[in-house]
Symmetry: C2
Subunit: 141 residues, 2 copies
């Protein structure tokens, strides 16, 4: 079970963005340099964040990205969903009545994995970008 770098970078970049987003848009170039993330890769990520209305883009010189919502309204769930970082613990299709083994009933561990998925998602739902910014302020003063 591991986190992919797409999800990790998305959150990193947004925390960085939120910290510097005062008046001016923040360019991916700056984020790239500060956080050591490939610029090309960041572009892919922000394209998705934009589609999901988490950020707004401003083109041209002095352009960049700005948050599209209040940091308190951006939960980790939203970010992960935007970049397709999904938590997948069950193997079967959830809608289906069939199990992961092809049988007509769910497998003997299905409920367990389902519980786990909920457990993890709860964490993501309760954590907002604002929380992260604050945590970060504390540790750096």
């Amino acid at each position: 079970m591991k986190l992919t770098s797409k999800g990790r970078y998305a959150v990193m970049a947004l925390v960085d963005l939120a910290r510097f987003d005062n008046i001016n848009p923040v360019s991916l170039r700056d984020i790239s340099l500060r956080q050591s993330i490939s610029l090309d890769y960041l572009e892919q990520i922000f394209s998705k964040l934009k589609k999901n209305e988490i950020v707004k883009s401003i083109r041209g010189t002095q352009g960049g990205y700005v948050l599209n919502k209040n940091p308190n309204d951006i939960k980790l769930t939203n970010i992960f969903h935007a970049v397709d970082e999904k938590v997948k613990t069950v193997q079967c299709k959830k809608e289906s009545k069939r199990g992961c083994n092809g049988k007509a009933t769910k497998c003997i561990t299905h409920n367990l994995w389902d519980e786990l998925e909920i457990h993890i998602n709860t964490f993501f739902e309760n954590k907002s970008l604002e929380d992260l910014i604050n945590d970060n302020k504390e540790t750096r003063v």
Copy 2:
């Protein structure tokens, strides 16, 4: 973030084993058939479970595997650890002072991922094989 089938199968197989482990050892062949898991793959998995003293093996005809501990003392953590299904959310080496970005300090999201890792591991530490057997009895009567 997804669960690999090694971890999933390990737990599945152990629940199956625990349910049928009365007097006689349970053969992998039976587990394979009941749970639709490749026999060859199960062998790899049980080899690891054995090394970690979660099961005991009995060779020869009528042989098979038996639990090596009380189901209540086998936590998901133990099972996952045995088959190398590890939760990895931070990117950096934990012991090191350096961050995942190569810089001298931890990255701005390090604490978050660390929290997440603890959150998930807590789930695994609190869930025992016995819990799973009971859950399963309930749903099947």
